[in-house]
């Protein structure tokens, strides 16, 4: 018998922020994942299984900071990065497919992404996601359909009061202007909806009065579809107006198609260092402090692989979705047959018969 290596409890500790789920919580998680998978299949999506790590260049240009990537070197001296984002690695995989045969692709994925987070905030370095990528999917009908799929996932899970918060990368980009787009402090002030800080930064950067006023009003441009019309009055640039036109069409389409979605528009929504180019959204629920997932349109992402392919997608954070679920029992198998291991072949025969009847078979150890 090998000696136990140690009885020190410290050896049983895991790295903070890694994912560890077991028992009823894991069963609920499975139910969440299966529900989203079912809805995705219902809309014609098929699974794509993607590498857990890849060349570091694959993960450039996303919202994961370079310093937060988990990097390691293989035996050939190549720097590799643990998957930090699904859309970026899916784009690379689907680019291979598209070069072979250009077409509309519906792909759904599930797995973990890895990003360093300092401990102490309850933040997680591993996140399980399930989501989908819709490639060669241009225009507002695909935008609206994507929101409908996300909405169907939420209502299938019983999260009827979850809200989809819609913004537009093109609008916020135009509002920020050439100079503002790379200004991290300004982006952060907008992200925190902090008008005092926006004013202060605009003054320091010497922005003109019209731009300052526009930026300071962004945190208040949140509400029903009427905020799109309000935004129109303060955003005269053609690029911004084009984005607002898109959102108008989207809002009308959601209305006319009879989609029963709980949506809000937040035109002050920013995503730092993201690949989004058009409509983008996040999902919130009052039971959980942070978003349950999100997505949007990224029409320029495939440029890096020499392809001009409009695409859209979203991903859900499975842990947060599970947290948001009403606390109901997960249904187990209806009938179960128990047998004791001490009874040997007799026990096994009983269980095999139970399984042919489709029942749950539980082989118990000696008491």
């Amino acid at each position: 018998m090998p000696q136990p290596r140690t009885t020190n409890a410290r050896d049983l500790a895991f790295v903070p922020g890694t994912e560890l789920v077991f028992g009823p919580q894991a069963a609920r998680r499975r139910q969440v994942s299966d529900t989203i998978a079912r809805v995705s299949r219902g809309w014609g999506f098929t699974d794509i299984i993607l590498p857990s790590f890849d060349d570091r260049r694959t993960f450039e240009g996303g919202d994961a900071h370079d310093a937060d990537l988990y990097r390691f070197m293989d035996r050939e001296g190549r720097w590799l990065v643990l998957r930090a984002d699904f859309t970026l690695i899916a784009a690379k995989a689907l680019a291979v497919e598209l070069r072979r045969e250009p077409r509309t692709i519906r792909a759904s994925y599930e797995g973990r992404v890895f990003r360093f987070q300092p401990s102490g905030h309850g933040a997680r370095v591993e996140q399980s996601q399930r989501g989908l990528e819709w490639v060669n999917a241009p225009g507002s009908t695909f935008d609206a359909a994507t929101l409908c799929i996300a909405g169907e996932c939420l209502s299938a899970l019983g999260l009827h009061d979850a809200v989809l918060v819609i913004g537009h990368a093109g609008f916020i980009g135009a509002a920020l202007g050439e100079k503002g787009r790379g200004d991290r402090a300004l982006l952060e002030a907008l992200d925190h909806k902090n008008p005092a800080r926006i004013h202060e930064l605009a003054r320091r950067r010497g922005l003109d009065a019209a731009r300052t006023e526009l930026l300071a009003q962004l945190p208040g441009l949140c509400g029903g579809a009427e905020v799109i019309a309000r935004a129109r009055k303060i955003a005269p640039e053609p690029e911004a107006l084009g984005a607002l036109d898109e959102l108008e069409v989207l809002a009308r389409m959601l209305r006319e198609s009879g989609a029963a979605l709980n949506v809000l528009y937040d035109l002050g929504e920013v995503r730092q260092f993201s690949y989004y180019s058009g409509m983008m959204f996040k999902v919130y629920h009052h039971g959980v402090g942070d978003d349950l997932g999100g997505g949007g349109r990224y029409d320029r992402l495939f440029d890096r692989y020499g392809l001009d392919v409009p695409a859209i997608g979203f991903g859900f954070d499975l842990a947060r979705l599970t947290e948001a679920l009403p606390r109901t029992e997960v249904n187990g198998a209806a009938t179960a047959t128990f047998a004791s291991a001490g009874q040997g072949a007799i026990a096994l025969r009983m269980l095999l018969e139970a399984r042919t009847r489709g029942e749950q078979a539980i082989l118990a150890g000696e008491p």
Binding site: H121, D161, V163, N194, P195, L264, Y284, H286, G289, D291
Partner: protein, 213 residues
């Protein structure tokens, strides 16, 4: 009813006066009660009395939908929450202070300056921005002693009137930021209770404008 995290200590009296002026007085005196949760008279808010440094965490995690927090604490913790209003009270300055004869502060030299502070993140980022190498010493209180007795070249701390600094023979070398109490909001709560939080924000806005006239 929405829950609002309020910091006990220095800010609480001002916060209580502000809430009363905005139309949300608590049912009992917050500075005197031993309860940790007290509703407002109107029944729209429930105040949660917490340590100042914990207030943003309660809001970030969604345990409290709303909160009041000093900008100094927000700068140190950098929580992922919304900060839609400067409430204007509990004003102070975050400064770099030290003995008057210390002059080597803001030159970029290779030997690091030693900085004692309750705000290690703020201090580290400030000296990084200046390109000055620093060794940060985290203290929990009476930071001034650090500079007086030569534990550090400088301290990074908040000052209101500057009396404590003066009485200990220290001077302000540089201002890092202006601080005051801020109204903070959880992201998910902001969207889930948009109209109610919008109404509270408007009430708070007009109360701060009244206070400044």
């Amino acid at each position: 009813m929405l829950r609002m995290a309020l910091p006990t200590g220095r800010i609480l009296k001002d916060a209580e006066r502000f809430l009363a002026s905005a139309g949300f007085p608590p049912v009992e005196n917050l500075s005197q009660t031993r309860k940790l949760m007290v509703p407002s008279q109107c029944g729209r808010l429930e105040y949660l009395l917490v340590k100042p440094v914990d207030s943003p965490l309660y809001v970030e995690q969604g345990v409290a939908e709303l909160g009041v927090s000093g900008k100094d604490v927000l700068m140190e913790l950098a929580p992922d929450i919304l900060e839609p209003l400067d409430l204007g009270f509990a004003r102070c300055r975050m400064v770099v202070a030290g003995r008057p004869e210390i002059r080597r502060s803001l030159d970029n030299t290779l030997s690091p300056v030693r900085v004692a502070t309750k705000y290690p993140r703020v201090a580290r980022l400030h000296f990084e921005k200046l390109g000055v190498p620093s060794v940060i010493l985290k203290l929990s209180g009476s930071v001034e002693i650090g500079a007086v007795l030569g534990l550090s070249h400088y301290i990074v701390d908040i000052v209101e009137t500057g009396t404590t600094l003066r009485e200990n023979g220290l001077v302000v070398h540089e201002e890092v930021a202006q601080c005051s109490a801020r109204f903070v909001v959880n992201r998910a709560a902001f969207y889930s209770h948009l109209s109610e939080i919008g109404a509270i924000l408007e009430a708070f806005k007009s109360a701060t404008e009244k206070a400044h006239v």
